[in-house]
Symmetry: C2
Subunit: 292 residues, 2 copies
């Protein structure tokens, strides 16, 4: 059995940076330290952070005299103002790439183009960007939604930084028919693009592929769908516990990839579990051979 | 046997207008009347115009004291200047839609974006547009050519007015990966878009389809490829003479479509030939039945 871990898989620069900032903040501050929502979309990591005294919260009401960390996805200007008004200490760990997208949306909102955001309606990055567009931007999640849009003279389209590139391309192609002048900003970060490419390349040369990461992670879900469209035998697992013997029964060449919020330990855990299962299988085959 | 002529097939507004202008010019002028190149990409129509005293020419050297008509595809500013210098009378029959694209390219050439023209390198419209870009524009004919382009911060992409929309979409999608900020101008004229749609819809509901038009017509060639990709049994014919009995042998439902330079008479001629062949076939079948 061969195990191949995808190149460019796992934690991205923005998430690594947010984790580092959170841990440094914890060391430096004596009072309570909160993150506004889960720091990353990975329950295991969030739980570890909690044990270190870094609590996620959505409720701003109860927070007083504390430090609050803005996660890599960023927040809307309204939410930032709410935090400023509370006079809590703000540590801004917004990913610098997301920050650039926020500035772009802010600038576009002053122009005449209708703004189209390609992303997940419920994703915190998109919620933040909507705020920067003065709530004027339209969210598009799939090609079908473009069909309902009217013809417009001017539009600008951009993507959530962790969007699926092929979906973004399809939506842009559909918008061409509906728009006379369309400005396309490829705001999908390079780390996401290379991760998606590595995963799809890997999916085409293995017989089984495991996508490792939080089930609540938008970009990891996208990786799963990209791989699944190439290789039916793709499994989405959050931890090694979810790997069942039947998933490995006929596997000879196994691929592993992880999202932007998947820590290296999670990938390592999966590799070890697969190796262990493989050894057990060889051991069991030996026993059967001896008995026969 | 059923015959269906595609909606929105045949002569477009720009070509009809150029033909009208040429005929009116002929009536009004006593001297020689030339068109700069074939007025439309249809040998039959060009030959008919010649018989009326409207001669196509590429050689400007010999033209003196004549009227020269610029065809619907337009010309580059350099060529226009050459005509002006010759002091011949110029009648400009450039399609108003192409004129708008020329102005757009002229404006873009003053900006910072690299200009990408999606079209056929040898097409007169593209040659004219290259002139308006101060020869700075890059011509892209297919997706493969995008792979050779370097990454750029800013690009603007537009299409020959009679380009295949699905090819334009594919090229834009490929450019997204190579460009940070891409301005997309859908300059494919509405007449071309609806003609392509009608033809592909027709190709999916008939068993045989005839594309009628000049073999030298770029947009008619595109119609042929669009239909052929849906229906193998697609034939490209310039005139009724090219229809062979084997093309109609198993045909029950026949579709017909024509390019922007295909006159209604050419389509009518094909319809009559098919009807005639069909009646002969019925007659032959009756004879065989009587003999047996």
């Amino acid at each position: 059995m061969e195990i191949i871990v995808a190149e460019n898989s796992g934690l991205c620069y923005g998430v690594k940076r947010a984790l580092r900032i959170a841990k440094e903040t914890r060391k430096m501050k004596k009072g309570k330290v909160f993150t506004l929502g889960d720091l990353i979309h990975n329950p295991q990591v969030v739980s570890e952070l909690k044990s270190q005294g870094i609590e996620p919260t959505e409720k701003l009401e109860d927070i007083k005299e504390a430090t609050i960390i803005i996660r890599s996805h960023g927040v809307s200007p309204e939410k930032y103002q709410m935090l400023t008004d509370k006079k809590v200490e703000i540590i801004d760990a917004t990913c610098p790439i997301v920050k650039k997208i926020q500035k772009l949306v802010e600038r576009l909102a002053k122009g005449k183009e209708e703004i189209i955001l390609v992303g997940d309606r419920k994703h915190p990055e998109i919620k933040g960007l909507i705020g920067y567009s003065q709530k004027k931007a339209i969210i598009v999640e799939n090609e079908d939604q473009v069909r309902d849009l009217p013809y417009k003279k001017k539009r600008a389209v951009l993507a959530q930084s962790t969007q699926d590139l092929s979906l973004f391309k399809k939506i842009v192609a559909a918008l061409i028919e509906k728009t006379k002048e369309l400005k396309v900003y490829n705001t999908i970060c390079l780390s996401t693009q290379t991760r998606q490419k590595s995963t799809s390349e890997l999916a085409s040369r293995v017989d089984t592929l495991f996508i490792v990461g939080g089930k609540n992670s938008s970009n990891t879900n996208k990786l799963f769908h990209i791989s699944k469209s190439i290789l039916t035998n793709t499994h989405f697992v959050e931890s090694a516990k979810e790997i069942k013997p039947e998933m490995l029964e006929k596997a000879k060449k196994i691929g592993i990839s992880g999202g932007a919020s998947t820590p290296p330990e999670a990938i390592e855990e999966i590799v070890l579990k697969i190796k262990d299962s493989s050894e057990r299988q060889i051991h069991r085959e030996n026993i059967i051979q001896c008995q026969s």
